[in-house]
């Protein structure tokens, strides 16, 4: 039963992705992207990753609002014109090559639904799971990893967010900075 729900979710996400690529109406494309995100968060929930599912769903809501409110209503909502034949052929060939490589790679992975770290006994994640509570005191193992064992990652993520916000506010600000000759007034 669980597997059936899982496959249904995956089919839902795939169909939404196809519609998002193929449709000509930008608003329906954005809504389909949102459907992909919500399906993805449900998949994360079924894979027993509530942290990721929660973050995914709130970011998806905010991203949808930003896309619809700030972008769609200000721009053209329909795409016109046809695809280039050469570009389509090239992308299909590249996607086929990646698909064939992917088949080989996915054979190496452990069975679906089993944790990767159970395969190698000396993996670092074994330490995180077994000693996380006594070394950091946090009962949420994910938080103890992202804020204690791997806090550098979080610092980098915060820096990336900070830099992108600075860029957005600098580019999109309403009032321009004063020119040097206007400064003395």
């Amino acid at each position: 039963m669980e597997l059936f729900i899982f496959y249904a979710l995956m089919a839902f996400v795939l169909i939404a992705a196809f519609i998002a690529v193929e449709t000509r109406n930008l608003l329906s494309a954005v809504i389909c992207v949102g459907a992909i995100g919500f399906g993805g968060s449900l998949i994360f929930l079924f894979l027993k990753a509530p942290d990721i599912a929660m973050t995914q769903i709130v970011v998806e809501v905010l991203g949808l609002v930003i896309l619809i409110r700030a972008t769609i209503s200000r721009d053209l909502t329909f795409i016109s014109g046809d695809r280039e034949f050469f570009g389509m052929v090239v992308s299909v060939v590249i996607l086929f090559a990646i698909f064939m490589a992917g088949i080989g790679i996915f054979r190496q992975l452990p069975d679906f639904g089993t944790a990767v770290y159970t395969r190698t006994p000396e993996a670092a994640s074994q330490t995180y799971v077994s000693r996380g509570l006594e070394e950091t005191g946090a009962s949420n193992i994910v938080t103890s990893v992202i804020l204690d064992f791997r806090a550098y990652d979080t610092l980098g993520e915060a820096t990336v967010l900070f830099a992108s916000i600075i860029g957005a506010t600098a580019i999109l600000r309403k009032k321009a900075k004063k020119l040097p000759e206007d400064l003395d007034e």
């Binding site: 929660m54 950091t136 949420n140 204690d148 610092l155 967010l161 506010t169 309403k174």
Partner: protein, 163 residues
């Protein structure tokens, strides 16, 4: 998706129904964000998810009441200050680890047993809840800032219509 102004109210924003509901729901969403942040070390969630929820409560207000209403409560200047303060305090926690604990990002509050730290309690795990709170402030302010800036922005072909 344009802001449909209700004739009875005369103000900017959506209809009376949306305004009433969102004025009831806004504090619940905000409190839920705070809850997600401060129990991030015990239950699923954490600074990032809670910060996004807090930004979401402001975005709800912005959609319902219009941009000017939100700008009065939390101006762009203050949002960018909160953003910088959160980032600075998060870095400060890390640097304090370097000074007091010996290495960058070490959990100095937990290692040296400064606070009583029993597992599964709200005040535990040393610097992890502190970092969660600072990241929550930072992420909430910055995501609010980005949607504020994006909704202020008018492309060139629309610029002449308003203002």
């Amino acid at each position: 998706m344009a802001a449909n102004s209700s004739p009875s109210n005369g103000a900017k924003g959506m209809t009376v129904i949306v305004k009433t509901i969102s004025s009831w729901v806004k504090m619940l969403i905000f409190l839920f964000g705070i809850y997600i942040i401060i129990t991030g070390h015990l239950t699923p969630g954490g600074g990032f998810a809670g910060g996004v929820i807090i930004a979401g409560s402001y975005v709800l207000l912005m959609l319902a009441f219009g941009r000017e209403f939100v700008e009065e409560n939390l101006p762009l200047r203050w949002a960018s200050r909160f953003d910088c303060i959160g980032a600075l305090l998060f870095a400060l926690v890390a640097v304090l680890g370097l000074i007091l604990g010996g290495s960058f990002f070490v959990n100095w509050l937990f290692r040296q047993q400064i606070l009583p730290s029993k597992a599964l309690e709200l005040v535990s795990a040393g610097t992890i809840p502190l970092s969660n709170i600072f990241i929550g402030i930072k992420v909430g302010a910055s995501l609010f800032l980005i949607i504020l800036v994006l909704s202020m922005f008018r492309p060139a072909h629309l610029r002449g219509e308003k203002e």
